[in-house]
Structures are given as structure tokens and as C-alpha cells.
């Protein structure tokens, strides 16, 4: 038979070993990943701060250099009394020539401030490193333009908001203007134009992982943004409004107020967290900012995490394989043992565990198993012999039983030609041979001797004692006719050389079937019951005398009663009243007497069957503990 194990040891091993490893490893991976992420984030922040700081410093330097030209020019014009337009142009040319970043440079005079001209604004612009002269007065009233009017009103230098210059393509420009004072009066504005296209290109070339940079003007307008549609159209505030990001507006306010910071915010479209670093460009109040999606910061960390997880899974698979092999190796002898035990259970005692290597518990188990099988084999051998012997004894006992049965009258009705009475008896031994017996025989034509006895002990010795007693009774009955005398004689004989100290309680009665007189003598036996023809139950009055075989000089007395028609005498041994049920409750005299009140109109055979059935019903499954013997006499004359 193939055995089936619901939860093999290997699964337990796999669970017990891999689960803790998995938990520990997962914790290590989790915390490692957490710290790596934290570190990566900090590194990214540091990197962005350094990067924006570096580029902002470069732009600052550039703008400082740019601002020098108009400032120097303003100082020169303020200090010199330049009256010739050619001199002005030369001064401007010198200034622009020395400044590589400047696209155009002008000195725009206040109306009537130069040679009483209404407007005069000599302007030099670089076109492919060529310097071209022109007068901006030809383009209308320049005093209304931001680059002129604002510094003029403020009385200090001013960086304009970026604007598109249309005269040389569509170029993004910005102007730095310096008011020129003479004797405390504003006489002109010196202004340098710079192209922002170059700055835009350089900004676009700054590579920050998957992030981007942007440049904001002093009013928050995008001067550079990777999305060209945002440039000069969107402000950081318009985007905050568009995407309903109040936090972005707050960042924007900090930016235009010249603060630097590192902040995070949710991307308005993807909702992923973004990190933003902003640094002011102090020269003109612009802000350089870099934005990096948090996910990209974690890309490298996540790649390591994935590698760790793959490594962990591979490691776990290897561990599981090892465990499976190891457990198979360990459990193979156990499984063999199970198979052998199965084999053993079918009766094969020749099984033997072979080839168990090592000195471990499994080896010990195999040795013990082999020894157990060997012991079992010896035991079964001994048991077989014992059984054989037992069977032999039992066979002999059966023969003894047969012999004993032949000693007891078995044929009913015993005297078919006698109509004066009815008689029936049964003997149910507790063991194969009984210690109880009954007997009856006619002494002469009218006197019937009735005996019921119970030998102390059971089995063969009791039955032998019974045989001796029965034979003695019968023998003595032929010599003396009174029950008391018979008892006395038998007692004397039994007491002789009674080394085994056995005894027998005996009730003997001589019944005159004609007169109905019952003379009886009791040697320590349960007094029989008389059930008269009215159904009244009573014990026969007792007589003096001990059980036979106890004391050789014991005297026995005789008692007489006269039976009426249909009177019943119920003889029995203590196997009836002491019959026990499974809870060790006795059947008792009370139950017996109660039962006897119901049987006065029955014949002896029926009474016997009913008695045995009643006792059987009471004892149930309990094993019969003592011999049961009963004999019922019913007087039919009178």
C-alpha cells in the first residue's frame, strides 16, 4: 500500500527556513532601498543646488560684464562734454567692441539734450561681428519705451523684461539701461541690448538626468523653458493658476523675491512628485531653476532594488532546491521505514532496514526498528507456542466440560412418566468447566432427591471437586435417606485430606411427590425460593450447617415444608443474584424476588428461560463473572 503524507517534512523545512530568510532579506532590501533613496534624493538636491548655483554664477558674471559697458559709457558721457555725434558713435563702438556679450549699445538722449535735437539716440549693433551705426530716433519716440522711461523715472539702472526684437528676425532680447546725469540732470540713457537666444541655447544644453532647467524673469515670465510654447507666454504664476497649484505660486513669489530653495511639488499632469531647486541671478533679479522628477532620481536606486530582488529570488530558489534535496535525503530512510512498517503491518516479519549510513538519529531509529522487528518476531514465536499450548489446554477443558456435562442430568423432562411434578434445570459455566452443579434422582418410587451446589473457585479444580461431591452425594444417598444425614456423611468425606481447602455450598432436598413434603438441608447455600400457587414469593427457612468440606464435625439440621398444587421451588446459585452489569451493579435478591412474583403460572422450562433472559438483559454486554445454575420444581398434585 502506498502511503500518503499530507504535510511532508520538506514543506515544513522549506517554510521554516525560507520564510525567515525571506522576511529578513525583504527587510534588508526595504531598508537598504529606503536609505539609498534618501541618499540619492539628498545627492540629487546637492547636485541641483551646485548645478544651478554654477550656472547662475556664470550668468551673473556675464550680466555683470554686460552692465559694465553702459555704466562706463554713462560715466564717460557724464564726465566729458561730448558735442560731436561722431565722437558719441566712436565711444559707443569702443564700448561694444570690448564687450563680447552685447548685441547693441546706445546712448539715447533726452529730448533737446544733444545739440538741441528733438531726439538723438546713436545706436551701434553687431551684425555678424560688423558694427552698424544708426539713430534710434528714426523709430519714433523712444522715451516711451521701457528701456528708456523706466530707468529715467527710477533714476537708476534697470534690466528690462525680455522682449522680442523684430528688426533682425524674431530675436529674444533684453536691455540693460543706465541713466546718464550731468549736473544732477538726466541727459541720456545708456542702454545695452543682449540677445537671449544664446542663453536659451546654453540653458537647453544643461543636462540634468531626465529633468530640465528654466529661467524666469524678474516678473516670473519664462525666458527659457524646454517647452518653447511657454517662453515669453507663461509665467510661473499663470502655470500655477492653470494647474491649480497654489504651492507653485508661493514658490514663484519666493523666486522673484530673490530667494533660493529646494522644494517638491506634484507634477500637474502626471501627479508624480517633482523636485525643484531655484537660485537667483542677483544682477538682474532673474531666477535659474532646475526640476527633476523624483522617479528619475530613484531610477538607479530602483534598478539596484530590482537586482536585489532578482538576487533574492534566485537565492531563495537555490535554498529551496537545497532544502528539497536535503529533506529528501533525510526523509528517505524515514519513508523506507514507513514503507517497512506498512509491510510489517501486513504480517511480513522479514523486513529489515539496510544500508543506513551515519551515526545520526535516523540510524538509531533504523537500529531500533530492526531490533523491534526482531523482538516482534520472537514474541510472535513465543505467542504462537503459548497459543498452541493454550489451545491444547482448552481442548482438554472442552473434554472435561463434556465429561462434567455428562455428570449432570441433561434430559428434560427427566421423568416423563411422572405427572406429579415438573422439573427443569440449567447450568451456565463462567469458564469452560463449572464449579456449580445440580442433580436429582429418585431414592425410591416416591422420594426425589434434589441437589444444587456451588464449589468454591472455578475451572478444572472446581469441576473435579464438584464431580467428587456429586458422586459422594449419590453414593451416600443410597446408604442414608435423610438429606441431613447425607450431608453429614458427604461433609465428613470431603473434609478428609482436603489440602486444597476447597468447599462446596450445597442445598439438598428430599421431595415426596405423593405427599408434597419437601425435607431439606442447607449447607451454606442460598436458600431457594418458594413461589406458592398464589404467586407469593418467600425464601425457604434456613437450616443449620456450614458449606461442605469446611469442618468435618459440622452438624446439619433438617427442615420440612409441604408443597401445595402449583407451588414452585426455585433453586439457584449465587451466579444469579450476584450477576453484574457493566457498571458492576449486582442483579441482587430484590430484582430476583421481584422477577419471581411474575412467574407462578409458568412451567419450569419457561421459568428457567425467563430467568436467564432477565439476568442477561440486566448484565448486558458485561462478561459472565460466575457460574449460573438454577433448578425449578413445580408440584402438580395436591
Amino acid at each position: 500500500m502506498k502511503y500518503h503524507v499530507k504535510r511532508p517534512i520538506r514543506w515544513k523545512l522549506i517554510l521554516l527556513i525560507t520564510l525567515p530568510i525571506l522576511i529578513v532579506y525583504a527587510l534588508i532590501v526595504f531598508f537598504n532601498s529606503y536609505w539609498n533613496r534618501k541618499t540619492a534624493l539628498q545627492q540629487m538636491k546637492d547636485y541641483l543646488i551646485e548645478l544651478t548655483g554654477h550656472h547662475a554664477a556664470n550668468l551673473d558674471t556675464e550680466f555683470a560684464i554686460i552692465s559694465q559697458a553702459p555704466q562706463n559709457l554713462a560715466e564717460v558721457i557724464s564726465s566729458l562734454n561730448v558735442t560731436d555725434s561722431e565722437d558719441i558713435f566712436r565711444l559707443i563702438e569702443n564700448a561694444i567692441d570690448n564687450n563680447p556679450y552685447i548685441h547693441g549699445l546706445t546712448v539715447a538722449y533726452e529730448p533737446k539734450a544733444f545739440q538741441n535735437k528733438r531726439f538723438f539716440a546713436p545706436h551701434i549693433r553687431k551684425i555678424e561681428s560688423e558694427l552698424q551705426r544708426r539713430d534710434l530716433s528714426g523709430f519714433g519716440d523712444y522715451t516711451l519705451q521701457d528701456w528708456y522711461s523706466i530707468p529715467a523715472l527710477l533714476g537708476r539702472s534697470y534690466w528690462t523684461e525680455p522682449y522680442y526684437q523684430q528688426d533682425n528676425g524674431r530675436e529674444l532680447m533684453c536691455t540693460f539701461s543706465v541713466p546718464v546725469f550731468k549736473n544732477g540732470n538726466l541727459i541720456a540713457i545708456a542702454a545695452a541690448d543682449i540677445s537671449l537666444d544664446d542663453i536659451k541655447d546654453r540653458m537647453g544644453n544643461i543636462s540634468i538626468m531626465a529633468g530640465y532647467t528654466f529661467l524666469l524673469s524678474q516678473h516670473g515670465t519664462y525666458i527659457y523653458h524646454p517647452n518653447p510654447n511657454d517662453i515669453m507666454k507663461e509665467t510661473i504664476f499663470s502655470k500655477a493658476e492653470k494647474y491649480n497649484l497654489p504651492v507653485m505660486r508661493e514658490f514663484g513669489k519666493e523666486m522673484i523675491s530673490g530667494k533660493s530653495s529646494v522644494q517638491s511639488f506634484p507634477d500637474p499632469i502626471t501627479a508624480y512628485r517633482q523636485w525643484m531647486v531655484y537660485t537667483p541671478i542677483s544682477t538682474n533679479g532673474w531666477t535659474l531653476s532646475a526640476v527633476v522628477p523624483e522617479n528619475d532620481v530613484f531610477t538607479a536606486v530602483d534598478a539596484i532594488l530590482i537586482k536585489h530582488i532578482i538576487l533574492m529570488i534566485t537565492g531563495l530558489i537555490v535554498i529551496i532546491v537545497i532544502i528539497v534535496f536535503a529533506s529528501l535525503n533525510i526523509t528517505r530512510p524515514i519513508r523506507n521505514l514507513v514503507e517497512m512498517a506498512e509491510e510489517l503491518s501486513t504480517g511480513n516479519l522479514d523486513v529489515r532496514m539496510e544500508d543506513i549510513k551515519g551515526e545520526d538519529e535516523i540510524h538509531e531509529l533504523a537500529v531500533v526498528f530492526n531490533k523491534m522487528v526482531q523482538d516482534l518476531k520472537h514474541y510472535i514465536h513465543d505467542l504462537t507456542n503459548a497459543t498452541r499450548e493454550k489451545e491444547s489446554v482448552e481442548s482438554e477443558l472442552r473434554i472435561a466440560r463434556s465429561i462434567q456435562e455428562s455428570l449432570i442430568p441433561r434430559i428434560f423432562p427427566p421423568f416423563p412418566d411422572r405427572s406429579e411434578f415438573a422439573l427443569f434445570a440449567r447450568n451456565l459455566p463462567a469458564k469452560e468447566v463449572a464449579g456449580d452443579f445440580y442433580d436429582f434422582f429418585f431414592l425410591d418410587h416416591d422420594n426425589l432427591i434434589l441437589v444444587i451446589a456451588d464449589v468454591s473457585g472455578k475451572g478444572v479444580s472446581a469441576s473435579l471437586f464438584m464431580a467428587v461431591t456429586k458422586t459422594l452425594i449419590k453414593a451416600k444417598a443410597n446408604e442414608v435417606d435423610r438429606p441431613d444425614k447425607i450431608m453429614q456423611e458427604v461433609n465428613f468425606e470431603l473434609c478428609q485430606e482436603n489440602d486444597s481447602a476447597m468447599f462446596v455450598t450445597t442445598f439438598m432436598a428430599a421431595f415426596n411427590v405423593k405427599t408434597g413434603v419437601l425435607s431439606y438441608c442447607n449447607a451454606g447455600h442460598n436458600p431457594p425460593y418458594l413461589i406458592d400457587n398464589t404467586g407469593k414469593v418467600s425464601q425457604l427457612p434456613n437450616t443449620e450447617g456450614m458449606a461442605l468440606g469446611v469442618w468435618e464435625e459440622c452438624q446439619y439440621s433438617l427442615q420440612k415444608i409441604t408443597l401445595q398444587k402449583n407451588d414452585i421451588v426455585f433453586f439457584y446459585t449465587d451466579g444469579i443474584n450476584e450477576a453484574m452489569d457493566i457498571d458492576n451493579n449486582e442483579f441482587s435478591y430484590e430484582r430476583l424476588e421481584e422477577f419471581l412474583t411474575t412467574i407462578n403460572d409458568q412451567v419450569p422450562r419457561k421459568i428457567t428461560e425467563m430467568t436467564l433472559q432477565t439476568v442477561k438483559d440486566f448484565t448486558g454486554e458485561a462478561e459472565q463473572s460466575d457460574d449460573i445454575t438454577l433448578m425449578v420444581l413445580k408440584y402438580l398434585l395436591g
Binding site: D146, S149, I150, L153, E161, Y164, H219, T235, K242, I256
Partner: protein, 319 residues
């Protein structure tokens, strides 16, 4: 018979030509949400549904659309009512066939930090003013509050104001004011002076056509006006779609604007169109005599007009 048939053919041809002629309609400024209703009337086919073949034009600020209407160069234009009244009083052949905006958006703005909280605080301050019609309400305002100030010619941006080159700026509520917000200034940082709150409500954009053209094409004018109002109704009911169209137009004209700014503008314009009237488009585009005569009085006070144009003949569509 042949002659009659020929005459009929010519008449029918002329009629067909007349109905199929492209009607030029010029907005008085660059495209923006201020003209969303006209744009949507064009884009969503309300003009076509009315059998009108309209060409939408936008002024670049250097020409006067009213002058072009007066001369018959174009058929329709939008313009400020104050400007139209002045020109009408000078016998220009222009007629208002729909007064779309009811509430003036012109305003003065000061930074709270400048300490200007009331009109009288403007005394001695630099105030940025635009030229032309934009000066009428401020002039009346300054006169009303007897304000002595330094006038600065303000350009069409807010940079000088933001840089504190002047302390009070002229602004349109739907445009420059919100640009300040989009430059990082909170509404709480700014003190506003809406002219309409100082009994100086000058309704602004209206639709104008040549009086002769109107007499000959009343049906066309009616249809055009209805189509424009349908355009506005559609714009207010479909703001996101409208803003996309407006932004497309802005892109075509290289306008430096954005979604947020145009959305604000559309919202303010909606309030102006529905000001003192209902949600029903049939009630839009009309002007009351009271408002008109209040305006006329101010214009006369400033000697901008000698004669008062007749209300009934100047306004073709009245309450």
C-alpha cells in the same frame, strides 16, 4: 419678354452677389478673449448659418477700425463707445448696431505698499495713463476728486508700474490687472479703483457699421448682431473649447499670452456682457439712454463733443 427676363436675371444675380459678398468685420485690437464671441460666431458657423460670409480681421493698434467703417473700407468693426460718440458727434457715418460690453473694465491700480488707499492719496503721485479714449474716465475721475498728479505716459505693459517707476497704473481689469496677478502680485497687495464704481461707467466694446450700409442691409446687420450674440452665448457655455480657439488665434498673431490670462479675460467679459441684464442673449447688446446720457455729459464736460448724437439714430439696437 427677352428684356424682362434679362432684367430679372440681372436683379437676381445682384441679389445673389449681394448675399454672397464677404463682409469684413474688424476687431479693434489683437485677438484675445475680449473677442471670444466674435471668434466663436465665426468658428462655430453662426455667421454662415445666417447666410453671412464674414471675414474676421484684427487691428494691430496702428489703424482705426472706425475710420475704416466710416470710409466704407470695411463693413463692421468693434470699438469703444466713447470714441464712437466723439466721432459721431463729428458727423462720422457710424452707427452702433450692438453695445456688447455693458461695464467698464478700465481702472486704476496702486500697490498697497505705496500707501495709496483712496483717490486723494494719489495727489502728487506719478500716475501712468494711456492716451486717447483711455484718458476720458481718468480725467473725469481726477477732476471729481481734484487730484493733482504727475502724468506718466504709460506703455501697454505693467513693467514700469511693477518697477515702481510710477505709483498708479492704468489697467484693464480683464488684461493688465490680471497680468499683475500673473507677475506674482496678490489681489490683496493691490488697491483697485474701478471707474464704474465712481459713477464713471463707460460701456466699452460695441459693434459699428456705416450708416449707409445699415440702411441698405438692415437684415444683414440684424443677422450679424444675432450671430455675434450666439457666438458669445456659445463661448460662455463652452469656455474650454472657446479658450482653445482664442489661444490658437493668439498664437497666429504671436501674442504673448497664456491660458490663465485668457480664461480670466473671458470671465470678466462675461460679467461685463451680462452686467445689469439677464442670462438671455436676446437681452444682451443693448444700451440704456441713462447710461448714454451720463457718458455724453462727461464727454461734453471735457469738451470732447460739441453736439450730442441722437440716441435713436446712433443706436440701432436699443432697449
Amino acid at each position: 419678354m427677352k428684356k424682362i427676363a434679362l432684367i430679372i436675371l440681372i436683379v437676381v444675380s445682384c441679389r445673389i452677389f449681394s448675399e454672397q459678398r464677404t463682409l469684413s468685420f474688424m476687431m479693434h485690437w489683437f485677438p484675445q478673449a475680449q473677442f471670444a464671441g466674435y471668434i466663436m460666431a465665426y468658428e462655430k458657423g453662426f455667421f454662415r448659418e445666417a447666410d453671412l460670409d464674414v471675414e474676421l480681421l484684427f487691428s494691430d493698434g496702428t489703424c482705426s477700425p472706425l475710420q475704416k467703417v466710416n470710409s466704407g473700407e470695411i463693413d463692421f468693426c468693434t470699438a469703444w463707445l466713447s470714441q464712437a460718440i466723439v466721432l459721431r458727434s463729428n458727423n462720422w457715418q457710424i452707427v452702433n448696431i450692438g453695445q456688447i460690453l455693458q461695464k467698464s473694465s478700465l481702472m486704476l491700480v496702486a500697490k498697497r505698499s505705496s500707501g495709496i488707499l483712496t483717490p486723494s492719496d494719489m495727489n502728487g503721485k506719478r500716475i501712468g495713463l494711456w492716451s486717447g479714449d483711455f484718458t476720458i474716465q481718468p480725467t473725469a475721475f481726477f477732476k471729481k476728486y481734484d487730484i493733482d498728479f504727475i502724468e506718466i505716459k504709460q506703455s501697454y505693459n505693467i513693467h514700469g508700474f511693477l518697477a515702481d517707476a510710477w505709483q498708479v497704473a492704468s489697467a484693464m481689469y480683464y488684461n493688465e490687472y490680471y497680468k499683475m496677478i500673473l507677475a506674482g502680485w496678490d489681489e490683496s497687495d493691490l488697491i483697485t479703483f474701478f471707474f464704474d464704481e465712481f459713477d464713471l461707467n463707460f460701456p466699452e466694446d460695441g459693434i459699428y457699421t456705416n450708416e449707409t450700409f445699415l440702411r441698405q442691409n438692415e437684415d444683414i446687420c440684424k443677422k450679424l448682431c444675432q450671430a455675434v450674440l450666439s457666438g458669445w452665448e456659445y463661448a460662455f457655455q463652452n469656455k474650454e473649447e472657446t479658450l482653445q480657439f482664442v489661444l490658437d488665434y493668439c498664437d497666429r498673431y504671436n501674442m504673448q499670452t497664456n491660458y490663465s490670462a485668457q480664461k480670466w479675460m473671458l470671465d470678466v467679459i462675461e460679467r461685463s456682457i451680462k452686467f445689469n441684464t439677464s442670462e438671455q442673449k436676446e437681452d444682451w447688446g443693448k444700451i440704456s439712454q441713462t447710461t448714454y446720457f451720463d457718458m455724453v455729459k462727461i464727454l461734453k464736460d471735457q469738451d470732447l463733443i460739441d453736439s450730442v448724437p441722437n440716441f435713436k439714430t446712433f443706436f440701432w439696437r436699443t432697449e
